[in-house]
Amino acid sequence: MNYNINEKGYYGEFGGAWIPEMMFTNINELKTKYLDIIESETFKNEFDCLMKNYVGRPSPLYYASRISEHYGSKIYLKREDLNHTGSHKINNTIGQILLAHKLGKTRIIAETGAGQHGVATATVCALKGIKCIVYMGALDVSRQAPNVNKMKMLGAEVIPVNSGNKTLKDATNEAMRDWINNPEDTHYIIGSVVGPHPYPDMVARFQSVISAEIKNQLKEQTGNEYPARILACVGGGSNAAGAFYHFLDNKCVELIGVEAAGKGVDTHETAATLTVGTPGVLHSSKTYLMQNNDGQITEPYSISAGLDYPGIGPMHAHLFKTERAKYLTATDEEVLQAALLLTQKEGIIPALESAHALAALNKIKMNPDDVNIVNLSGSGNKDMATYMNWLAY
């Protein structure tokens, strides 16, 4: 079984580039050039140098002894929350800004949900002196104020999107419309492993630094580079794609993605796309979607703005369909409990998104000697208002 992208831009039956003709020239340019660019020595050197000296990589792989004791199995945390800007999102934006520069683009657009990708994009645009426009659902603008302020201070223009549910899906629509209206000078930095080919593969490659480091660090710390399992939260699925990437072909490693159940997968207030969705085409990719019988996309819900998306990357659709990876869900309440547990046992406040992966530790069978990796994709700094609100309740 092949878990990588094929020459047509598909993972099995999922993916492709279902783009309107207005996007053809830009997507075609990316498709024909991205591999040559990102595999060139100069690109790799620049990327590695920034990863080390600017982002602060490698991010630690931390053996969390107190929650290990709590769960009766060995829990390691991959500390993507310690990256510059507080999440894994910077791995991708560094890669894409270097790529945009090589393509001669002078204007960057991005969509953002929780604001982590928006901040990571605004950051690399400041770093390279390139104009930056971030589309963000109006609801997310109001619930993620600290990140909105950061983007503004970094010099980005934040445009609130008032269509649809005013969240990530709507911000993505608006970013695509911007690209259609500005086809010459603009590069669209998509923040997850979603969108038309080559984005899912390109973003997964930039994020694959996570699993490359896990392998080295595990080998160093335990003598064995393969863990029993890896857990990561999944919205679009970029941190999970990065954490799974170098383990895809080793079947001994169990891969677990955790979707946002919201208020429960049997309610309408959920964002668990693989669990409740069906295949279709959204944002130029064939993948699982939350939709009604008429093919209209339904509005997702999650306490975490970063997972509040009605689609999922085509790579995960394929891993799900082929059963290479398992996808679980965690409800808002389970997530908050898991975040509090980590905070009080390890002194680490996780992002609400990452806390979904932690919540799944309650739902799987682990042997005492198993090595379990949780990808701690982001820091909880941005979520303090939500946490305080819940704790006071």
């Binding site: 003709e21 053809f24 629509n173 419309r177 259609i180 209206n181 996309i297």
Partner: protein, 257 residues
């Protein structure tokens, strides 16, 4: 013969195509609008199938789509409304919309139903040329349904030739790089691009669309192509008079004269 092909065989210039969103302003206006458009001298009609996430559309069509969906429009219901349409009108009809609702309805069932009702073409902007040619071209042909493909100022010449090869009916020339209803003025249009395409001597006739909103823009577009398509400006005008019929009559007269 397919009514679109017949139209372009009989008429070579100043062809007016009008787009409207099915289910807007009211759920059951569809037939009424089609009849009024034919009566007022429109040559071709594009019936919009609303989608929740119309990425190639500007605010006007986004808005009409949202209202239409709230009103309860779906492909299934639209076919229901159009079941008897050929008893009253003879104008070529095209269904325009995004691919996902068609995929969920079933592409083959969609094409067959179009054929049974007397729909002549489809415009599905996010069904790209390669996917269409590999997977769906045959089903469309079997059902006498023309798939109308788009070109833009950015489309390379070699690709325009491929699109011309794969097209039946006409080629939809997007006037400038934009979403629909961008409201650029007639003199902003890239006449150089229009002229270059005209000189390519494509086998299919061409219609120019996106941002055509008044008589001047229509007349200008007609200099370079068989005609032009008006969407956003039309749906915005549906409430300018006391009835839809009067509004349509008023708008079409403004465009043609």
């Amino acid at each position: 013969m397919n009514r679109i092909n017949k139209l372009f065989q009989d008429k070579k210039e100043n062809i007016l195509s009008i787009y409207f969103t099915a289910g807007f302003p009211n759920l059951n206006d569809t037939v009424k609008i089609i009849q009024a458009l034919e009566k007022n001298g429109v040559d071709l009609i594009e019936i919009g199938m609303p989608f929740s996430d119309p990425i190639a559309d500007g605010p006007t069509i986004q808005h009409t789509s949202e209202i239409a969906l709230k009103n309860g429009m779906s492909i299934k219901l639209l076919f229901e409304q159009l079941k008897e349409i050929r008893k009253t009108v003879n104008i070529p009809l095209i269904l325009m919309g995004y691919f996902n609702p068609v995929l969920q309805f079933g592409v083959e069932k969609f094409c067959k139903t179009c054929n049974n009702i007397g729909i002549d073409g489809a415009i599905l902007p996010d069904l790209p040329l390669n996917e269409f040619s590999e997977n769906y071209s045959e089903i469309f042909t079997q059902n006498n349904l023309n798939n109308i493909l788009l070109i833009t100022p950015q489309t390379p010449a070699a690709r325009i030739r491929q699109i011309d090869e794969a097209s039946k009916g006409f080629i939809y020339m997007v006037s400038s790089s934009s979403t629909t209803g961008a409201g650029k003025k007639a003199d902003d249009f890239q006449t150089e691009y229009f002229e270059n395409i005209r000189q390519m001597n494509l086998k299919n006739p061409r219609m120019i669309g996106f941002g055509i909103s008044d008589h001047a823009a229509f007349a200008n577009a007609c200099k370079y192509a068989g005609g032009a398509i008006i969407g956003s400006a039309f749906v915005k005008s549906l409430n300018v008079k006391s009835t839809i019929e009067e509004s349509i009559s008023y708008f079409i007269n403004q465009i043609l004269n």
